[in-house]
Amino acid sequence: MPHARKTERGLLSLGGLLLLPRFEHSSGPWPQIVGYALSLLLTLAATLLVVHHLIAPLYLPAVILFLAVLQAGIQLGLFMHLREGVGPSWQIVALVLAGIVALGIVIFSIWIMAFKSGVS
């Protein structure tokens, strides 16, 4: 079954950077300090945007949600060593799927529960 093996290796190299196992041997707490500073900064920015009405209310939710996603990325990347593991990092696949399902549940639920689609 050389074809099957090729497909699988292809899949792995596709995600190449993401799926290779690796460990972080940092010499100091710098990643943590940077992560902490960034998360404080982003929280502060979002709060200021809302409190001081710096952006039109129409776009504000999207902007602060974007800042929240950035913060989540910082936690995952700098604190949670997302890529660590022995063997393929299946946790990344799982988290991506979880994210898609979660987003789908929220967006579809809002759409369905609005009871306003189309001509009703």
Binding site: L20, P21, R22, V51, A72, Q75, L95, A102, V106, I110
Partner: protein
């Protein structure tokens, strides 16, 4: 070292050396994936219910950002100290590891205390969640996160005792590592609660 495949178990961090610990860490990631979906359902409920206030308060009336900002900083800081604890663990330094973990637990307990106080104030001012669908959704979403943090505090405290009794073995290191994943994950969930519930609740 980043970017290289390491096959020699001795070169790996302590918590990744044993086969069973490797499996447990991956399993814990899958549990977190499951928990992401759990919270997403609660977020969906909140999103649908936030306008359904009946005779109760609206989000804007209910929320005051001041105390919540303090809670947020406490939790962000605890995530940072938890990261420092794991960094100390990676260097094999048990003393700083225990100290940072202790600080993390204290900050977590402080967060839970502040949240309970916030809830008590809400109930005093606006009545219980029986009032409205919105209040039910609010307390359930925020409270589920608070419950997770409370469980985390108990878990972390038990791990401190475990570390003290058994020392930094691979098994203990793995338990600390999965605990740190849990703790950072709760921080991520909180960032979204802070954004979607508290900040967005203040947008007119």
């Amino acid at each position: 070292m980043i970017g290289q495949v390491q096959t020699d178990a001795r070169e790996r961090p302590l918590e990744f050396r044993d086969r069973r610990d490797n499996l447990a860490i991956l399993g814990f990631w899958f549990f977190l994936g499951s928990d992401v979906v759990l919270f997403s359902c609660l977020f969906a409920v909140y999103a649908v219910f936030q306008g359904r206030v009946a005779a109760g308060p609206t989000p804007r009336q209910l929320i005051s950002l001041g105390p919540v900002l303090v809670e947020t900083v406490a939790l962000l800081t605890s995530s940072f100290t938890c990261g420092l604890a794991i960094a100390a663990m990676r260097r094999g330094r048990t003393g700083p590891l225990a100290a940072w973990l202790g600080v993390t637990m204290l900050l977590g307990a402080g967060f839970v205390g502040m949240e309970i106080h916030e809830f008590a104030t809400d109930v005093r001012l606006f009545g219980t969640w029986h009032q409205s669908g919105f209040l039910s959704a609010f307390f359930t979403l925020v409270g589920t996160h608070g419950g997770h943090v409370s469980f985390g505090v108990l878990w972390g405290a038990a791990l401190l005792v475990l570390l003290w009794r058994q020392g930094l073995t691979p098994r203990v290191a793995r338990r600390l590592y999965t605990f740190s994943l849990y703790w950072h994950f709760l921080d991520i969930v909180w960032v979204f609660i802070f954004t979607v519930v508290y900040l967005a609740g203040k947008i007119t």
